[in-house]
């Protein structure tokens, strides 16, 4: 009887756990109060230990990587030369932008894109497994973080908020295999679009929508604004263009701008804000046209 009861209990518990697994897949908007409370309790300890770990890593990393510095120096010299060329073209673009700004003020154009509210926070813990690339940050619903919020840092795009607790949130890094980011080239002309996904090995694999697209190694790519991520956030630099005639779409390999091994401070752009902003953007063109027409006729 005891054995039968044990088997019944184990089967029921197993089914219950599998059900929880199915229901929780894809992430929840908010975690339960118990999970949230437990997270808040261990958060200070994790924050301190992660800080200590980063400090040790920063101090030991130059010793460990001393042999790589020659290659790094050479690649930085090449990049420096490339950036000097970019400065010239960007200065020209800046002049053009200034002229357009003057025109904008002459037409009394109302600027709709207000400053976005960023939430600054720290990475407090990283994935203990080796399958996915997830981490937790010390900002949650209390600070205004919502599910699907974009996470960035000073270097570029970091990832997406997966689940939100009261004072902490789970984030999926863009280098995670299941992540998907719409991108475009950081160019004035030939603005090719595509989609990137992670490889779990600190680089990204992308496909360009245009089969005739011409891209080259060293090109920078940014978010295209298609999907969840807002437009114009730096993702990384192309380090290989895969040339395979069997593939319909062109493939690229990208080094992320963010150093995920040293990630410490991040910023969160709440999702709802982006949504409402893009919604207001869709209403804008007609209103703006009306305003301009009114202004110009009023001026005459």
């Amino acid at each position: 009887m005891g054995e039968r009861y044990k088997k019944f209990f184990l089967t029921t518990a197993g089914i219950f756990l599998i059900l929880i697994m199915v229901l929780s897949f894809g992430g929840r908007d908010r975690v339960t109060a118990i999970e949230s409370g437990l997270g808040s309790v261990i958060l200070p300890v994790q924050r301190f230990l992660t800080g200590l770990g980063n400090f040790i890593y920063d101090k030991t990393e130059p010793i460990v990587n001393v042999l790589n510095y020659k290659t790094l120096n050479e690649s930085l010299s090449d990049e420096n030369a490339f950036l000097k060329e970019q400065i010239v073209s960007l200065t020209m673009a800046q002049k053009e932008a200034n002229e357009l700004n003057e025109l904008k003020s002459a037409l009394n154009y109302v600027d709709r894109s207000g400053a976005e509210t960023y939430i600054s926070c720290s990475v407090i813990s990283k994935d203990t497994g080796n399958w996915y690339n997830m981490f937790t940050i010390d900002a949650g619903a209390k600070q205004g973080v919502t599910k699907n919020s974009t996470v960035i840092n000073g270097e570029g795009l970091v990832g997406l908020v997966y689940e939100v607790g009261e004072e902490w949130s789970k984030v999926i890094a863009i280098i995670d295999h299941r992540s998907s980011v719409g991108f475009e080239m950081l160019r004035v002309t030939d603005d090719y679009d595509g989609v990137l996904s992670g490889t779990t090995n600190y680089d990204l694999l992308g496909e360009l929508y245009d089969p005739q697209a011409k891209v080259s190694v060293g090109d920078y790519i940014v978010t295209s604004g298609l999907g969840i991520y807002p437009k114009g956030i730096l993702i990384g630099k192309i380090y290989e263009v895969v040339e395979n005639k069997d593939l319909i779409l062109n493939r690229i390999k990208v080094t992320p701008a963010v150093d995920f091994k040293r990630i410490n401070k991040v910023m969160v752009i709440p999702y709802s804000e982006i949504e409402s902003e893009s919604a207001s953007d869709t209403e804008d063109p007609f209103e703006i046209l009306d305003e301009i027409q009114e202004d110009t006729t009023g001026g005459e």
Binding site: G14, F25, L49, L52, G53, N130, Y132, M134, K170, N201
Partner: protein, 165 residues
């Protein structure tokens, strides 16, 4: 071993693995100390301790860093179950025993994990992950043998592999 110490060990292990121990990644791979400690507890203390440790560690990993709840909880319990079936036919005072058990359990964990996430269409191609799995098996086995030998001496009062004791 008192239950509260097992709970504390699971909590400390999770906190350290997700924070400070991140600097000990080799080939971008972190050792799975949950499997290591589960096997050590199972072999050297009691089956109950191993199950409690595995369940709490799995739950913590799922809640704070998992894609879905209860996947690690189920897998770690299954790992302890598998190890508990094997340990009855193995000699505990041998260096090979912890290495065999930990390497086997790590392989079982990853194979089952792959199978489960495959059905959720959340899998990572094996070509991208196999080197991490191999590194983890070696890393876990080496660490496991060191931890096992230390605790073995503490529990039994003589060195692991000392057949004259």
């Amino acid at each position: 071993m008192k239950l509260r110490y097992v709970v504390l060990l699971a909590l400390i292990n999770f906190i350290l693995s997700s924070t400070l121990f991140q600097i000990f990644r080799i080939n971008d791979t972190l050792p799975n100390l949950v499997i290591v400690f589960s096997v050590v507890l199972l072999a050297l203390t009691s089956e109950r301790d191993a199950y409690v440790f595995a369940a709490i560690s799995g739950a913590l990993q799922d809640v704070f860093l998992g894609r879905m709840l209860s996947i690690n909880l189920i897998l770690y319990i299954a790992v302890v179950y598998l190890a508990s079936r094997l340990i009855v036919v193995l000699f505990k005072g041998n260096y090979i025993t912890p290495v065999f058990l930990i390497a086997g359990c790590t392989l079982f964990y990853h194979a089952t994990f792959y199978l489960i996430v495959f059905f959720f269409q959340a899998t990572v191609p094996l070509s991208l992950i196999y080197h991490k799995i191999l590194t983890e098996i070696i890393y876990n086995s080496v660490l496991g043998m060191l931890i096992y030998s230390r605790i073995f001496k503490w529990v039994y009062g003589y060195k692991l592999g000392d057949y004259n004791a």
